[in-house]
Assembly symmetry: C2
Homo-oligomer: 368 residues x 2
């Protein structure tokens, strides 16, 4: 394989694919990126056996071929090559030469035949989403993904199209909070299997969406999903588990309604928790007619409180929340009013902008 | 004590003093900042028993007095108070109230009488330095300070005025490299004792200099040093030890002279070390007539090399350096030419801009 590629082009593509490569690998070839050249472009592929990324980049190919080299080393080298330079990649035997300007590198290679590839065929369901819709689905749910590895079926975003309905739903929960976003069912997604997209796939897809407008092509089966985003194609195995019946957790009869400016509430919560030591992160909300008093008590440091104006007409009432979880939710509310539906100090609390919002959140109280 | 202070004023002063407070303290009061109010200003003081900082800030004092509260907690609170707010501090009994807008905090206090103070008197030597001169003395030497605690007498910058001379010198070394800067002797510094300023004091002084022009007032004895920088006064104990006779390490008869652009050399070194794994950071310099070839060999990854044009007329010769150490030195050279004086592959190498430069560096080679 021999080709010449612009440093900026190679850097961008490598930036995308090297991110999938784990820093520590017991299988050496998983540290490598598969480079292949044919026609007028090169392909870069990386995998961790569960998630695979392929990206294409324009290149002047002199000799078609393929090889694999350390993804992080090649990325570090290309980062340090001056912008504007032309980079020549030339592989032969067990070496690949990288040259740019006065700098020359000889990298050890491993045979392309040993590189594991996740098949991208057999994905019967296919649909398209605007990039910004996919961003919404991810951003408004991912913070609630569980990090407990024993509950592996909660380690991702659950996507399903409720039977007979006309919506597509994304849900994530860790047992303490739940986030659900609903969008109109895209054409082609009807009858899709219920799937759980693993956290790492979510995170890599999200990074690629930072640089992209336009549409994302999605194809999936019950076992795999593929995202085509610009020049990059991500293919991931899905979590092989059953997502719990989350609908039972969403309260429908909470009778205490607080309406409040989410930004003012979030700033107040952030301020009063300044007094808390790392461990006690509970914030108490004391509700009175048209006012919420936020308070935090820290055994070492003292106390903090702040009054926040609000729209509230039920009886006086106290409830505590994990301040981090509350801030995560408030950070996703876009309007200048949020509805907090409460029942009592121990019951799941429902948070949403309005009844018609695409997103709703459930938060379990803490004892304070 | 009761006073009102602008949030921005309090934040800036707290930002300076809280930096001296260690995150973990076995003596509770060392986590606190001493606040005192009198006349038209407040004073903030923090200490770690070796280093003390006092800063004055304008405030509307209602009731003079003093108390101590957790420095980091108060800093976190003030950071989260909206910019432009007026902050009221009001202490009584074992509590201090902090109020700003709708937010109220009650912080636990410890008695001011328990706060340890380092005396600032008995500092017979006094002189002034322009802030930028002090920045030069620090930046061109601090990277060479040893981090080996057993060699405590190398854990700082050695400052001395050689007897009968007209210069003040700053020196730091860790045994692998040495940095020496020489400036004209400031008025009042003649006959000063040899001192070693500890790393933490150097680092806090340097932070304050980021925000300052003008002059710095320095006063010292053989045991203590005081820096007055703007509204802040830092007082530090000095390292009680003997700095080794470093002059013997500075080579005077190295006969191989390389003249090279420091930026080009640094970029090349940075590039070829991209191939190195964390541990092997040696870069080899192969010198030929008017050319240096930089090279790195990594057992896992392969090899890297780069030719850098240079001015060199002695015989062909190879020498290895720790790339990090070489980059530290090159990063401090300001001109577009640096002189590298070498003897052989095992002898101390002298690096300086010219014979007349204020700074010189000595670097021990590595075997490559």
């Amino acid at each position: 394989m021999k080709l010449v590629v612009e440093r900026a082009t190679l850097l961008r593509a490598l930036g995308h694919v090297q991110s999938v490569v784990e820093r520590r690998n017991t299988i050496p070839i998983l540290s490598n990126v598969l480079l292949s050249a044919d026609g007028q472009s090169m392909k870069l592929m990386a995998t961790d056996l569960d998630l695979q990324i392929v990206e294409e980049a324009p290149a002047a190919v002199e000799t078609p071929g393929a090889t694999t080299v350390s993804a992080h080393t090649l990325f570090d080298i290309v980062r340090k090559i001056p912008d504007g330079a032309q980079v020549t990649l030339d592989s032969s035997g067990s070496r690949m030469a990288v040259t740019a300007g006065r700098a020359r590198f000889q990298l050890q290679t491993l045979p392309r035949e040993d590189f594991p590839v996740i098949g991208e065929s057999d994905l019967p369901v296919g649909f398209r989403l605007p990039a910004e819709t996919l961003v919404t689905l991810i951003d408004k749910t991912r913070f609630a993904i569980s990090t407990e590895e024993t509950r592996y079926y909660l380690n991702g975003i659950f996507i399903h199209a409720p039977a007979g309905g006309s919506t597509l739903r994304a849900v994530a929960t860790d047992g303490h909070r739940l986030a659900r976003v609903e969008i109109p069912l895209p054409e082609g997604a009807g009858g899709m299997p219920d799937i759980i997209i693993p956290r790492k796939c979510v995170s890599e897809v999200r990074k690629l969406l930072d640089e992209r407008d336009g549409e994302v092509e999605i194809a999936l089966s019950a076992a795999k999903i593929r995202f085509a985003i610009g020049q990059a194609v991500l293919t991931s195995k899905l979590i092989d588990g059953t997502f719990p019946d989350y609908s039972r957790v969403i309260p429908t009869a909470n009778d205490k309604l607080l309406k409040i400016d989410p930004a003012t509430l979030a700033e107040g919560v952030d301020r009063v928790t300044a007094i808390a030591s790392e461990k006690t992160r509970a914030v108490k909300l004391s509700l009175d007619r048209d006012r919420v008093t936020l308070s935090v008590t820290s055994p070492e440091n003292g106390t903090a409180s702040e009054d926040v104006p609000a729209d509230y007409s039920s009886g006086s009432f106290e409830v505590g929340f994990n301040s981090r979880y509350l801030l995560d939710i408030l950070g996703q509310v876009e309007g200048d009013l949020v509805e907090v539906h409460m029942a009592d100090a121990a019951a799941p609390t429902l948070i949403r902008e309005t009844e018609d919002s695409e997103a709703l959140y459930v938060l379990m109280p803490m004892r304070v």
